[in-house]
């Protein structure tokens, strides 16, 4: 019997990455979004949007985190950690 690594990055992470992208796209219309997963539950996010204009880094991150909070709270959230979040202007 082949062993299956249950927590390896796979379909769950891909699905979650899609959820992250959709949630950010809804909160920041027109944003250019890139989501990658390095390991199960860990994600790296890059967002390019003019909505970041005039905002400091904390406020920029809040804009993104606010969109995906739902995926990050609770006992076993699909997003365990955002290892890297880059926000930039187009």
């Amino acid at each position: 019997m082949a062993l299956q690594i249950i927590n390896a990055p796979g379909s769950d992470s891909r699905e979650t990455a899609t959820q992250i992208r959709e949630a950010i796209a809804e909160a920041i219309p027109g944003a250019e979004i890139e989501v990658t997963s390095s390991s199960a539950g860990h994600f790296e996010i890059r967002v390019v949007s003019s909505a970041f204009e005039g905002k400091n880094r904390v406020a920029q991150h809040q804009l993104v985190y606010g969109a995906i909070t739902e995926l990050m709270v609770g006992d076993a959230p699909p997003v365990h950690a955002v290892d890297r979040l880059d926000c930039s202007l187009p």
Partner: protein
């Protein structure tokens, strides 16, 4: 996830009413995660007082604060009702001086305190450096806002002040340096072995009050607050007449008293009460006393 109205109102109330509030895992005395510990260490360096809320004790708060702040991690620092950031951001703001501005504390970058290191302490520090310090590490002296001193080994950082002594250099961050003038570092032998002993003349003063003197005060009808910092269980066994238990409500009442009010603290043996006394001394009380030997010494000397 939407935040239910009750939780939102509760968090809003907390951040509005608390000048400096850290949402963290554990508490100031024992942080339960490295990130929380880092922010506690930074705040300890800058200000004597701030509040913490332990999210591990409160599931509603743990998720609630993440939604409230649009910030997915703990710790989270709030100052004056405004979200400042998590661990990384706080470290960054501390390093570039913005956190000091936000908190209204500024150290003179050119401060040059006079520090006395005894010959014995110099030798002991040199020995530690040669035996235990990794390459590039030096002796650091940190004095936090409660005037607790910490000696450690770390690489010197930009903005730190180097105090060159005969045979040994000490590095202090500017806040620590501003609290260090006249400090004396010595080595003492205790039952636990050899240790450094640091006397800081800038520390708020708590005076030792021997039991006989307290008896005199009570007999003379002198006006002062006598505060018992033990647990209700300990207090049930014995207590000093006219004393009151220092509950949270009682502490709040005392804190609101004029700063020249005389305060006397006691516990079982004098350790816990010393901490409580130091806390109130840092609050600006000028007549703060600790009953020497606690209630144990009080009962021993009662003679009846």
């Amino acid at each position: 996830m939407s935040l239910d109205e009750a939780t939102r109102e509760r968090i809003e109330g907390l951040v509005r009413e608390t000048p400096v509030l850290l949402f963290m895992k554990g508490n100031r005395e024992s942080p339960q995660c490295g990130f929380s510990a880092t922010v506690v260490r930074i705040l300890d360096t800058l200000i004597p007082e701030y509040a913490t809320a332990d999210v591990l004790q409160d599931a509603e708060l743990r998720d609630g604060i993440k939604v409230f702040s649009s910030w997915p991690t703990i710790p989270q620092l709030y100052v004056g009702g405004e979200f400042v950031g998590g661990c990384d951001i706080v470290q960054e703001l501390f390093a570039n001086g913005e956190l000091q501005q936000t908190l209204g504390v500024q150290a003179d970058p050119d401060v040059s305190p006079e520090i006395n290191v005894t010959e014995a302490a110099t030798q002991a520090l040199k020995q530690i450096v040669s035996e235990r310090a990794p390459e590039g590490h030096a002796v650091h002296l940190q004095i936090d806002a409660r005037f607790q001193s910490h000696l450690g080994l770390a690489p010197p950082e930009a903005g730190e002040i180097e105090i060159k002594g005969p045979g040994i250099s000490l590095f202090l961050d500017p806040m620590s340096a501003s609290r260090a003038h006249g400090i004396q570092i010595d080595v003492i032998e205790t039952s636990d072995g050899t240790g450094f002993h640091i006397e800081n003349p800038n520390a708020p003063e708590v005076r030792a009050l021997p039991p006989e003197e307290l008896r005199g005060w009570l007999e003379s009808g002198r006006s002062f607050e006598l505060l018992d910092v033990r647990t209700p269980e300990e207090r049930a066994l014995s207590s000093i007449d006219t004393s009151v238990l220092l509950t949270a409500e009682e502490a709040a009442r005392v804190e609101a008293l004029p700063r020249e009010t005389a305060l006397v603290f006691y516990c079982k043996a004098g350790g816990r009460s010393q901490q409580a006394a130091e806390y109130f001394a840092q609050k600006g009380f000028t007549e703060v006393h600790n009953l020497v030997g606690g209630i144990d010494a009080w009962l021993e000397t009662s003679g009846s």
